[in-house]
Symmetry: C2
Subunit: 388 residues, 2 copies
Amino acid sequence: MNSFRFHNPTVLYYGKGQLQKHLAAEVKAYGRKVLLVYGGGSIKKSGLYDTVRNLLTDAALQVFELPGVEPNPRLSTVRKGIDICRTEGIELVLAVGGGSVLDCSKAIVLGTKYPGDVWDIFAKHIQPEEALPLGTVLTMAATGSEMNSGGVITNWDTKEKLGGGSPAAFPKFSFCDAENTYTVPRDQTVNGMSDILAHCFEHYFHATPETPLQQRLIESVIATLVEYAPKVLANPTDFHARETVMYCSTMALNGMISMGLVGDWACHGIEHEISAIYDIPHGGGLAIVFPNWMDNVVDVNPQRFAQLGERVFGVERNGRSDKEVALDTIAKVREFFGSIGAPQRLADYGIGGDDIQHMAAQAVRYGHLGNFKKLTQEDVAEILRNSL
Amino acid sequence: MNSFRFHNPTVLYYGKGQLQKHLAAEVKAYGRKVLLVYGGGSIKKSGLYDTVRNLLTDAALQVFELPGVEPNPRLSTVRKGIDICRTEGIELVLAVGGGSVLDCSKAIVLGTKYPGDVWDIFAKHIQPEEALPLGTVLTMAATGSEMNSGGVITNWDTKEKLGGGSPAAFPKFSFCDAENTYTVPRDQTVNGMSDILAHCFEHYFHATPETPLQQRLIESVIATLVEYAPKVLANPTDFHARETVMYCSTMALNGMISMGLVGDWACHGIEHEISAIYDIPHGGGLAIVFPNWMDNVVDVNPQRFAQLGERVFGVERNGRSDKEVALDTIAKVREFFGSIGAPQRLADYGIGGDDIQHMAAQAVRYGHLGNFKKLTQEDVAEILRNSL
């Protein structure tokens, strides 16, 4: 493994009733003026909005609101949030929602303290050392944003969707109660699970040598997700299944299974180019791109694919070469995405081939994309063509 | 899984050269007066003592010393350290050594700030809210003390060996460079690996329902340790193998593989009673006790044992019952401890049966011992008899 520094300071709460017991105290540790950030109103339907608001007002906290965060959160919304924080002297941002709401809130807490333009954090990879304190109440299993320091923001002026962050953006605390995911619609549940699996793959297909424990830890998350995804879809109010998938989402991207390795992240890069133009769900885009990326890169290290197939997907060796077992593994991955009803082709979102060269050029504009294999523009174009 | 709160704030450094790059800055963040705590002098032979001392003095830090921490660290030594900290106004304790040095240092940092008697922390399970800052430089893969908040101290006046701790005792930072473990003697290396495996087992054999991901994460550490233990013994200066075992030790007891479950810890309790009288190495005692504990408890949940055997130890089902597969698993565990040269019987330390009833009575003095199965005094006595 590589030398590494690991530090994840988020206080993580899992389980029913934790919010009622601990939210007010956690918030009050940072101040009295809270900006509540949320999305399109699903938390109002579910009752979570009332629960959170009452817990805050009962504790005599002053609550401001930023509703309407988009599924691919927009820079314009981030700017609105920063304005409120600066004008009102907000002391803590409380994000209540899924990955988009949390990512938007991270950009807000960083941007509020950053003297320059918040978009620099994404476009110029600035990592501000300061941020407003952030707390989160998670409503969807997907991005792992509840326990990491990064986020993804879309700039509609430049049609760019970029990741960024800073250690200062780790949530101070996150509440993860799987009951709050019961009402997530089926397609969003599927996209969330595709996102979780994609995070695991981004870690798993790395070129860092000598990472035996990390590989097994990642396989653990993949195996658990593959086992529990069908259970969640069969019974969306199965607490144990929902919580297990939520726990997979946290563990897939909190750094605990990927210490000392450099992940690939090419598929995320490619998906961001698709979403920047077509505004499709992130997890849906990843489910489409990943198997085609695998076809493109398998020869770099067929052993890694074969290992995944044998250890996780029940592929049998039967005296075959790594490459043969690897191809079976990729077939199993496709089969899994299909089995949970994830989109299989860009055509499922009505996307044709017109922008392939533009997207491919954008994807490699900072240099080759990925680490497991360093993709060229032509690699990206091929992956996109095979995804049509 | 159970509801849980997880927070592990330790900054973890792995790899060569991290100490040189980051130690001084990490220490200086907390003050200028440092108490260097270490053991029997092996760090002087290896050169690590000079390295650390020079890094501190080059940074104009004022260094005090507490050498001579014992393999089972003693309350009397803890008291010495507290005296130095209070008298000299120490601002950070830097533990350089293995688990004993780190555990002793945790008791010192807690005890210094605790107004009562430091032994209360262990005997009365007091968790002080304050502690002096603690940093560590690890020289042995075993206890995971570098990234957790607990420790074990022996009181020779009362012949008690007890665990205790507090969230305030998490190291602020820990440096883990596997090169610093090259000179660990073979028997201590084996005992360390036995301790790591024991920590995994204490987590794995739990009675908390619905923990599929946790089980797989624990299996990952066990599988990796079982694969790499022979490599370390074959070549003690194999950096990759030493680092992998070290990484297993950190992950086995930093809470990341055991969120939301209540571990068993009966074998640790039994081993502490043995060590409290006979002062044997902790890992050696665990290697002796664990297989005999397994024989005693297997009927509680043979499926868990069978799962471990099939997933990790290569035991084949061949249409057999869980119990039959479980018994094969226990045989494999015995075989593994034997294969690395761990002690197999209390007789290997010259221990006979005289104190069995006393140790058994002591082990259950706070009530039944363990969680997977709640052991009675007679269970403990049986396990000890079978360990003779």
